[in-house]
Symmetry: C2
Subunit: 308 residues, 2 copies
């Protein structure tokens, strides 16, 4: 019934948010939280990552979480996996999409994946080949980490981002996302990088993954919208970060992003009141964690135009 243009907001709090949280959220609490987010109309949730539990203990129950999440009607369930081993586990659990991190900068790639970017692109090639040979369809997305700067290597030239994205397109992924892993991006850089990457891989460039480390998260999202990006990662209450990127703080806040998008006339399919209510499930599952977000604190203003 709505003729407004659609924008997809992918909730990554259960993966990117929890992996750097101080406590460990119990499995039952994660499920209640994910159900609350889905009930608000969020159509895509990155629910966990298949990584060694000794490195990221918060993700030890990802198999159980994915197996439950895929029973939620209409929900696209995404799992992160850094290698073919993790991808096989994601497939076995029934994930609809697997997200593969590929660092653009050498330093972050070594610290986070213990591989060079070129080696990780080769791993993505093996992943695509394996996934293509399976009977069930599972989408493969590659996320270009540190695409806008690196806390280890500093400036990341746009040519490197284009080179990595091009390599991933050749490797056969379904889609590529650009990630501001450490929150160094600014709006002019977002615009220039999107244009350059799109020039190389066209419509394979789909998502933007932004952090609010410097307070520029929504300004960067706006630059992305105006460059035609229609898919954004965000975390409820702004949870998140990267354990291997010193100084990195949370993802952009889902509530504030949805408020901005809906105010501007885009259709997210998300009920902002129910989305804010999902903070309760997050707080109950992880009581010590600070909850960010300006719209939840100030209250939805009377001028807000609710989703049609």
């Amino acid at each position: 019934m709505s003729t407004r243009e659609k924008v997809t907001v992918c909730e990554v709090g259960p993966r990117d948010g929890l992996q750097i949280a101080h406590g460990i959220m119990p499995t039952a609490a994660k499920i209640r939280w994910i159900e609350a987010i889905a009930a608000a109309g969020v159509a895509e949730i990155e629910v966990g990552s298949f990584v060694p539990p000794k490195l990221v203990p918060q993700m030890a129950d990802t198999d159980a979480i994915v197996r439950h999440a895929v029973t939620i009607p209409s929900l696209t369930v995404i799992a992160l996996a850094p290698n073919l081993h993790g991808v096989r586990n994601a497939y076995a659990a029934g994930a609809h999409r697997v997200s593969i991190p590929v660092s653009v900068s050498e330093g972050h790639s070594r610290a986070n994946l213990n591989r060079s970017p070129a080696e990780q692109i080769a791993e993505v090639g093996r992943i695509v080949a394996w996934v293509s040979s399976q009977p069930r369809r599972m989408e493969v997305e590659a996320g270009c980490s540190t695409a806008f700067g690196c806390s280890i290597d500093g400036v990341v030239p746009i040519e490197k981002v284009v080179a990595v994205a091009s390599g991933l397109a050749v490797a056969g992924v379904d889609s590529v996302a650009l990630a501001d892993t450490v929150g160094y991006a600014h709006p002019a850089q977002i615009r220039a990088t999107i244009r350059a990457v799109r020039g190389a891989i066209g419509g394979k460039l789909e998502g933007l993954h932004l952090h609010d480390t410097m307070g520029l998260g929504l300004a960067n999202a706006l630059a992305g919208i105006e460059e035609g990006i229609r898919k954004f990662d965000a975390a409820l209450a702004g949870l998140g970060g990267c354990p291997f990127a010193p100084g990195a703080s949370g993802n952009i806040v889902t509530e504030d992003l949805v408020f901005m998008l809906e105010s501007m006339g885009f259709a997210t399919g998300i009920d902002l009141v129910r989305l804010i209510a999902a903070r309760t499930a997050l707080h109950q599952g992880l009581p010590g964690e600070p909850l960010h977000g300006q719209v939840p604190k100030a209250g939805i203003p009377k001028t807000f135009r609710a989703a049609a």
Copy 2:
């Protein structure tokens, strides 16, 4: 030596920030704070307002503050005054510019000024006539409050903003600013309103005064930049609000705004390290007040390009 395009950042913390603070900053502490901001290269500071001390006790020492601030070399000193009485005092103290609030919405105008918008535009006409008859030149800026929504009246139609701005241009002000007093604005609205107002009054439209109530402050600033606005109000540490607009929270954070502008290649003339250092003077003068701002918390990233 710089060929980068200039953007003026006007610090309004000592006026808009302090007027809603819980404590009262002592006069000597205000002066140290203003001196620290000016030392960072901020060229314009709104240092106080000439309003009845029984309504806004934090502003009772504005006369002394203005008289000191005008002795700081190269600083443009602005004082807010809601009526001719206040403007006469601002002139006597030596202010370089006076800023007159004019609410676009009837409800906010009545609550804040006890006058209708039309009556306040008439007052601005009397102010311009009086200022023009004085031997010393003092600029007159009018700030259109609630230009993007009102916590009392709700939606504020763009036609009303254009009408008020047009009335102010006819009244003879030097410049008009648009203020998102309660933080309801979104980027598409910012763009549309600037275009409409500029269509009516052209280059008389100069400034944007934004609040971060919903987390959209810097996204709205970005929309303003891209529409050609080159003058922004902001408050150190995001202090601020409006005592008569329930729910309104702080101004956009000067530190984060300067970080965004300089990152994008604009020249603000402000040294970000010294600007962040000015938070110490604010904290010492008002120890209980929370200090906002992401850049000061995360630290300036190694990729940041310092001002030339």
